[in-house]
């Protein structure tokens, strides 16, 4: 059994234990590295949020254009035919798929055959643009929030 005196010796050895001498200015170098890493991550977050905003906006444009074109070129008729065919061959999955697409095209039909097709088209474009802008603003707000949350560290 180790006696208490020996334990005290061990404590004294640990108290003097300093195997690594840190050079002067080490903490400054650490803070510099932290600040660089912080800025890098911050810029990456901004780039990601902006790219996500633009991508979502572009996606909204593409979807609305597709829906509009489908209505304009009466693709709904093709869907109706496909649905009838699915019913005839009793293909349940295909039936569900065509039914889902039919619901989407119903909306585009309504736009394409409305008494004011031009107005509907313009409305669609405006709504999509607003959606894209909203997405970008939300991204920007997220970035702002991130900046506020991750305040830059100081070194006193």
């Amino acid at each position: 059994m180790t006696n208490p005196k020996e334990f005290c010796d061990l404590d004294a050895r640990f108290a003097a234990y300093r195997p690594v001498e840190l050079p002067p200015g080490f903490s400054d170098a650490v803070m510099l590295k932290i600040n660089r890493d912080h800025k890098h991550r911050h810029h990456r977050d901004i780039a990601l949020a902006t790219a996500t905003g633009f991508l979502l906006g572009a996606l909204a444009y593409i979807v609305s254009t597709l829906v509009f074109l489908a209505g304009k070129f009466q693709l709904g008729d093709w869907i109706k035919r496909a649905e009838e065919l699915a019913r005839q061959v009793d293909a349940t999955i295909f039936l569900i798929a065509t039914h889902t697409v039919k619901v989407i095209f119903k909306a585009s039909d309504a736009i394409a055959f409305s008494p004011w097709p031009d107005f509907a088209m313009h409305a669609l474009v405006w709504v999509t643009s607003a959606l894209a802008l909203c997405t970008i603003f939300v991204s920007a707000a997220t970035v702002r929030w991130t900046i506020k949350k991750n305040a830059t560290p100081s070194h006193s």
């Binding site: 020996e6 050895r13 195997p19 690594v20 650490v30 590295k33 100081s154």
Partner: protein, 183 residues
Amino acid sequence: MTNEARKDFAGEPIERIQLHFGDVVERYQQPIASFIYSFVFDVETARDLTQEVFVKAFRSLPSFDPSRPLSSWLFGIASNHARDFIRRRRIPTDSLDETGENIPDGGADPAKASFLRELGDSLSAALAMLPLDDRELVLMRHVAELSVPEIAAISNLSEANVKVRLFRARQRLQAILGRDSFL
């Protein structure tokens, strides 16, 4: 920040710790460097890993629970980082003498004796002879100055288990150091 809070940053909100992170670095850089050195036994590597630990800690600060002591959280990160480094570099983690009973006299294995001589400091050399898990417990207790409950929380062991293992590790360390002639 008050002097008392500067000492251990107890109860400080995360935002304040974030803004005064320079003080955290000043306060813990030396013990963390010593702690990491006792895993890797290389001064330059210990310095680099110490820097990385603080960068990692600053990144993870939003997930820090301010009701916990900052020191145990920092040393937990340091321990994981050092272990990751050892795993990546495939540094052998076996102690130089697993049993701790047959202390090398320097002549039996020239490679071991040379390594121990390179370490210079007898405590470093003695620590190198402890198994990694025991070494970590001893370092957490004596270099990081963590309490037994804090060590138990970091190492996922019961407090009783930590106490027993610490006692045995200290005994082995004492036995190794008792034969200073091994260097």
